[in-house]
């Protein structure tokens, strides 16, 4: 029986992208600069005021969403722009390529989110996490869901002529359910609610990841080929 994808090959695609990123800085610089400038603008806008818990939680995920939009598309767009899509197509199964790219986006987004959250906690004094376990799990599951959705959307927009603008526009409706639930869950972490009360939110986040990944796996061959 054929395997769904080759794990070693997917890992090699991840390593290739990681080494390529370190050498070219296609996505990394864009992500870091976006996070820093956005947080600086928020600091100026907030000034001496203390934003409410709802607004603090919302702003954090707005920064994460738009930062992801500035860098996540690069995994496929850079292959398309350099013309290496065809080469990749000739050496691996589409599903292997998808899971390799998903792993790269996941790690990149994790690193970016750790950086963003740490900066956010330092710079926004009113952002005080009362329940750390809810907050950590929200960031972890939110990152996984965000990377799964942004990977397949990146593959779709890489084929279009208006890559830059299309990415956030197409991502927004797909990511909206996830964004709503992670903002709600972050608010719960800031309010210090019990862990058990947030379980429903985590189940929704896990279900979102499973559905998006399954649909992406089924669709990727069509997206990738022509």
């Amino acid at each position: 029986m054929n395997k769904i994808f080759n794990i070693n090959s997917a890992l090699t695609i991840f390593i290739k992208d990681f080494r390529s990123e370190l050498r070219t800085r296609y996505a990394l610089n864009a992500l870091i600069m976006f996070v820093i400038t956005t947080l600086a603008i928020i600091l100026f806008a907030v000034a001496n005021e203390t934003p409410s818990i709802e607004i603090s939680a919302g702003i954090l995920w707005i920064v994460i969403f738009f930062s992801a939009m500035s860098g996540m598309a690069r995994t496929f767009v850079s292959e398309e722009e350099r013309g290496t899509v065809m080469t990749l197509h000739l050496i691996a199964k589409p599903s292997t390529i998808f899971f390799g790219k998903l792993l790269f986006n996941l790690i990149l987004l994790f690193l970016m989110n750790i950086f963003t959250v740490v900066l956010y906690i330092i710079l926004i004094p009113s952002f005080i996490v009362q329940n750390a376990s809810i907050f950590i799990l929200t960031v972890v599951l939110g990152t996984i869901g965000l990377s799964a959705a942004s990977t397949i959307i990146a593959a779709i927009i890489a084929k279009s002529n208006t890559k830059g603008t299309l990415y956030p526009v197409l991502s927004f409706p797909i990511l909206l359910p996830l964004l709503m639930i992670v903002i709600k869950s972050t608010k719960s972490a800031l309010e210090g609610v019990e862990f058990a009360k947030a379980m429903g939110d985590f189940q929704v986040m896990i279900a979102y990841f499973v559905v998006i990944t399954a649909v992406s796996y089924l669709l990727f061959d069509y997206v990738w080929k022509d």
């Binding site: 090699t12 013309g83 197509h89 000739l90 589409p94 599903s95 080929k225």
Partner: protein
């Protein structure tokens, strides 16, 4: 390894324009097919369809290995493909490109085989140079090394002499001769020197299929 490539009623339409239709042929072990035709006749489109890079509008491509049909998603393991429009990773060295291609293909990376292929295409001295420093001819040679890395039973060449000097062309002709002995070959070209190596020819201008 017994291989067979069967093309059934292939038709391709691009943006409402018919490129070709009703293309049928069959290719078996130790044979070579030349695909000829004027510019824009669809030579590159046809080889991309054979390699699984493009889907035909109608028709199908069947590939058999030892009598067993191979699914289109797994054919990459048995095909080698060289074309001027194929790109390598500029930010990696020649040897890194070959190692990556081998690992992504899922084959065991044999250093001796990589060294042998790099020597064969006269790039061994530049194995640690970044591909971005290569000329177009050197890149074309490296594409041959990457296409032969997994010893494919079917080798597909689009404009095989593109960007190559006389020394490079003679290496390519040696590769073509050896491929004919060990498997199958498809060449998209208009060059009579390339066509002479092939025992079948399909002329896309006339959509006819003849055997020499």
């Amino acid at each position: 390894m017994d291989i067979k490539l069967e093309i059934h009623n292939i038709k391709k339409i691009f943006n409402g324009r018919k490129v070709f239709s009703d293309i049928n042929f069959q290719l078996e072990n130790k044979s070579a097919l030349a695909i000829t035709g004027r510019n824009g006749s669809g030579k590159s489109t046809l080889v991309k369809i054979l390699a699984g890079l493009l889907s035909p509008t109608n028709g199908r491509v069947d590939f058999y290995l030892n009598g067993k049909s191979i699914d289109v998603q797994n054919r990459y393991q048995y095909f080698g493909f060289v074309a001027p429009y194929l790109q390598l990773y500029d930010e990696f060295t020649a040897i890194e490109n070959l190692e990556l291609f081998g690992r992504i293909r899922g084959i065991e990376v044999d250093k001796d085989n990589i060294d042998f292929l790099l020597k064969r295409v006269n790039l061994y001295e530049r194995k640690d140079s970044y591909v971005r420093e290569f000329s177009s001819g050197m890149k074309q040679r490296l594409k041959y090394a990457s296409a032969l890395l997994h010893k494919p039973p079917l080798l597909i060449l689009d404009e095989p002499r593109s960007n190559l000097d006389s020394e490079g062309i003679s290496v390519v002709y040696q590769i073509i001769q050896e491929q004919k002995q060990s498997g199958c070959l498809v060449v998209a070209t208009n060059d009579s020197d390339d066509i002479q190596f092939c025992n079948q020819e399909i002329d896309l201008n006339q959509f006819r299929n003849r055997t020499k």
